[in-house]
């Protein structure tokens, strides 16, 4: 066990950009989990006398409101924290959903290859990839009620085909391997083989993609909410806050700018992690 910890520590030391990304993500997760206990103000409480207060570094800042307030005087820090919670919740769950859908489709497809089921599933994957995602998302979110759940489902549509393809090609490769035949010969059922052996090899191939997909989901979620077809008020999303601020951008730019910077920092952290993982798992670089 201590051997493993040593390995992790040396990996972190050798990849400072990964470590920085990880630290940011851990902070983000902390904010997301404890958002309602650490917010300085009630994120929904308006206070008209403090409206459009600037952040702490400009003159005219209101005490307590570190990042200022929005157009009805709601504290921006509190709203951003709640927005982070929504974003993180939705993006993590949507990627999780995408992996589950992708794994299921990829597994069935790979195990039934070659065959009609595989062909059909692969064409569905193609259709999903060929459909301009943002248009699909908008159509679906006008078709169904835009709730947290429907947002998760819609966002998961963006990334499941990639997982399905990766798992399918893994399954097709592994099916031919000797140890699978050996396991079969020993009487293991094919479902058990699939889960035990294929699942293990699946992780290295999806791990580098996962952070980037989560980053994509965070951006798309904030976009949909910004276009007011995603998370609906009174729920708070980073996109909502930006949309609120857009009418006041000339005078109170921070309302729009700050949530955007927060999105950028989280996405940057995820990209840094993804980059490192990609290099780490790249067989070409791992000679």
């Amino acid at each position: 066990m201590s051997e493993r910890i040593k390995k992790v520590l040396s990996f972190l030391r050798k990849n400072p950009s990964f470590t920085i990304g990880l630290i940011i993500i851990l902070i983000t997760l902390f904010i997301a989990i404890f958002a309602d206990s650490i917010v300085p103000f009630d994120p929904a409480a308006s206070s008209p006398k403090d409206r459009l207060a600037p952040p702490f570094w400009s003159s005219g800042a209101k005490p307590g409101h570190i990042l200022g307030t929005d157009y009805i005087g709601r504290d921006l820090v509190s709203r951003v924290f709640m927005g982070i919670r929504t974003s993180v919740f939705i993006s993590f769950l949507s990627v999780g959903t995408a992996i589950i859908i992708g794994m299921t489709v990829g597994l069935i497809s790979g195990l039934s290859h070659p065959g009609p089921i595989d062909s059909i599933l692969m064409r569905i994957t193609d259709i999903q990839m060929g459909f301009p995602f943002i248009v699909l998302a908008i159509i679906i979110l006008t078709l169904v009620e835009p709730t947290v759940t429907s947002c998760i489902v819609v966002l998961s549509l963006a990334s499941w085909p990639a997982y399905a393809r990766v798992l399918r090609s893994n399954v097709m490769l592994e099916k031919e391997m000797d140890y699978i035949a050996a396991a079969k010969a020993m009487g293991a059922s094919s479902t058990r083989i699939a889960i035990k052996y294929l699942g293990r090899n699946f992780l290295p191939s999806i791990l580098p993609v996962m952070p980037m997909d989560i980053a994509g989901a965070i951006i798309t979620e904030s976009l949909l909410s910004f276009m007011s077809i995603g998370i609906q008020p009174p729920n708070i999303s980073l996109g909502n806050i930006m949309a609120d601020g857009r009418n006041y951008i000339s005078t109170s730019w921070w309302i729009t700018a700050i949530p955007g910077v927060v999105v950028m920092i989280i996405v940057l952290a995820l990209n840094l992690m993804g980059d490192t993982l990609q290099k780490y798992f790249d067989p070409k670089l791992n000679k």
Binding site: R123, I138, I139, A215, I219, S250, W253, T256
Partner: protein, 309 residues
């Protein structure tokens, strides 16, 4: 070879048909009545009549059959809200988006190459770190947010460029810059990476040993050598680019395909949505198909293996 191409084309057709069917079904499932939006004060009878005119009076399967029949004759339907044929609306909006995409691609390719090569040549110096740092940063910014901020800074504060709408080519500049940013960032990173790969290839070293200075051999050898990975990248980035185009048009109120599609969805302008979705996805699929075929022409080794073609 020919068989491969035929199969690709068939698969592409299946995908386009699938997307058309799915769009059709989803749109009709949206619980709202576009004829009611058209004529809020009409009587039931008038509405029935209007529905007939709009081509949405029949049961959904019948509507679909009619739609397909029309498509076969090359007729994409009529947009009631625009009072024009879908093809006319597309013909008007398409050049607008094309300009945007074209500008964006030019900007991205020029700056991607320039900065990517500069970073590779100066690898592990502060220049490289600066360029790479900025490219990661720009890749991480939400595109629509960059749009809002740039409108504020460049149009409103500095008054350098017009902000929203369209009254001339000047209105295309800022949206194409915003559209180009993430793509430029991706290109910089990929070009740098593939150049760094190429630097370690034997023939680049052999060129250096012949006195060809490293920047020259890098550009000449590595660029030509990285065209294929670049092409692949372009295929995968195109989807992102089209999606971003819709978003940027929304932010800038730019009257292109993206704006049309958003308005059409909101108004339930069924046939217009239908036509625009088919347009976007066909474009995406055809370009990707062309890229697959393009590989063969770009690499003399594949060309030789294919026996000339």
């Amino acid at each position: 070879m020919l068989a491969t191409i035929t199969r690709r084309i068939l698969q592409g057709l299946i995908v386009i048909i699938g997307i058309t069917v799915i769009t059709f079904v989803m749109l009709r499932l949206i619980p709202s009545d576009p004829s009611r939006t058209m004529a809020p004060n009409a009587t039931e009878e008038q509405l029935m009549q209007l529905k007939e005119q709009m081509g949405i009076g029949d049961p959904i399967p019948t509507q679909f059959v009619k739609y397909v029949k029309n498509l076969m004759r090359g007729y994409m339907g009529y947009s009631y809200f625009q009072k024009a044929d879908v093809s006319t609306v597309i013909a008007k909006a398409l050049p607008m988006s094309s300009i945007l995409l074209l500008f964006a691609i030019i900007i991205a390719v020029v700056f991607g190459l320039l900065l990517g090569i500069t970073a590779a040549i100066n690898s592990n110096t502060w220049i490289d770190r600066l360029i790479s740092g900025f490219s990661v940063l720009f890749q991480s910014m939400p595109n629509y947010w960059v749009g809002i901020i740039l409108i504020q800074i460049i149009s409103v504060q500095l008054k350098l460029l017009p902000s929203t709408g369209y009254k001339g080519i000047r209105y295309s500049i800022l949206p194409s810059i915003v559209l180009a940013l993430p793509m430029t960032a991706v290109l910089i990173r990929n070009i740098r990476a593939s150049m760094m790969d190429s630097i370690n290839q034997n023939f680049v070293k052999a060129a250096k040993a012949r006195g060809i200075p490293s920047w020259s051999s890098l550009i000449k050898y590595s660029f030509r050598n990285s065209l294929i990975p670049m092409l692949t990248l372009f295929g995968t980035q195109l989807g992102v680019l089209l999606g971003n185009c819709v978003v940027v048009e929304y932010v800038f109120g730019y009257p292109g395909i993206g704006m049309q599609i958003l308005n059409a969805i909101v108004r339930r302008d069924y046939y217009l949505v239908q036509g625009l979705v088919a347009l976007l996805s066909s474009f995406f699929i055809i370009v990707n198909m062309a890229i697959d075929i393009g590989y063969i022409y770009l690499d003399p080794r594949i060309r030789k293996a294919q026996g000339g073609l």
